[in-house]
């Protein structure tokens, strides 16, 4: 990656981390659109408990510590690392798997 790309992705990653760790602290606790409609129309009670509801980060880390700001920050940071790692890894593999299609060619 050249310098221009490094700067772009460095800034991009910084924005993503700020979103996940800081902006997320100001998230509204109100139900989202679907949950709201389910409540209004009377089918919210058909929702079942999540199979992995006891996972350490379930509910964006709501049971990690007594400090909800810390929980959200930890969940946000780890989530960014995992999605970035998995996303980058998959696209890197896909690109390896099909190496020729986007190579610069005079005929295209």
């Amino acid at each position: 990656m050249d310098r221009r790309n490094r700067i772009f992705f460095g800034v991009g990653l910084l924005v993503v981390v700020v979103f996940a760790v800081v902006v997320s602290q100001f998230a509204s606790g109100n139900p989202d659109g679907l949950e709201y409609v389910a409540g209004e129309e009377g089918f919210l009670d058909t929702a079942e408990d999540h199979t992995l509801g006891d996972a350490p980060l379930a509910g964006y880390g709501e049971n990690l510590t007594d400090n909800s700001a810390v929980n959200t920050a930890v969940a946000g940071l780890l989530g960014v690392l995992v999605t970035l790692g998995v996303g980058y890894g998959i696209f890197w593999l896909v690109r390896r798997r099909f190496p020729d299609h986007t190579k610069p060619t005079a005929s295209r």
Binding site: D32, E41, A47, L52, A58
Partner: protein
């Protein structure tokens, strides 16, 4: 927008699970045909951004919130097929690590936010871009408008799934009207965020934006 387990019956959920898995397989192949080496980091970053942005629920009216779906955003940046894969990655990570979105509902969610949101949304984006003046600024505007429309569209995906396999005995018409109304409002937030982020990337690195009219994949390096 993340459907939990239980809203939609097992047969319907399983059907959409198979459809989503097949869709991801197709999308991965199609992505391999066009994704340029330089876009790989952007695609990873897009997944991380969609995850991070989805943590931020913005208030909508009283007692309701909404969050970015990110389908149009990802699709404009890295193309519709990679955009679909981005949404699938985010939804799997959310369901497995954060208990957000049911495991049996994964296929339902991937179809609504990935297939409808990213691929359907990208088709909308191209259509809107075609109707706008041929200017660079049109990219962010078209992405914003497509982002706005993609939210009620994805909500209609849920309504269709609910019609097929909803477990509750409630009025479908009422669910449709409520989903449409609320998600038209949430769509405004989607449109604004999508437009801002696409605009920022267009300003700094328009050469990386797949949906930009003059995008040339890896050939840009050759031409520079």
């Amino acid at each position: 927008m993340h459907i939990p387990d239980g809203f939609i019956n097992g047969v319907t959920s399983a059907g959409f699970g198979v459809a989503a898995a097949g869709g991801v397989g197709v999308a991965v192949r199609k992505t391999g045909r066009y994704l340029s080496e330089r876009q790989v980091p952007l695609a990873g970053l897009a997944a991380a951004f969609v995850f991070a942005a989805q943590m931020f629920n913005f208030p909508v009216l009283s007692g309701m919130s909404g969050h970015l779906l990110g389908g149009v955003l990802a699709a404009v940046l890295v193309g519709p097929w990679a955009g679909f894969v981005v949404l699938a990655v985010v939804l799997v990570v959310q369901a497995v690590f954060f208990a957000d979105g049911g495991l049996t509902a994964l296929g339902l969610n991937i179809v609504n936010m990935g297939l409808v949101g990213a691929i359907g949304g990208y088709a909308l984006y191209r259509l809107i871009l075609h109707l706008l003046p041929k200017r660079r600024q049109s990219v962010a505007l078209a992405a914003g408008v497509a982002g706005f429309v993609s939210v009620p569209l994805a909500a209609m995906g849920f309504v269709a799934q609910f019609a097929l396999g909803g477990t509750a005995d409630v009025s479908l018409g009422a669910v449709l009207v409520a989903m449409l109304g609320t998600h038209l409002l949430i769509g405004i937030g989607e449109g604004v965020l999508t437009s801002l982020v696409v605009g920022a990337v267009m300003t700094s690195r328009s050469d990386l934006v797949y949906g930009a009219p003059d995008y040339r994949g890896d050939r840009t390096e050759e031409l520079v």
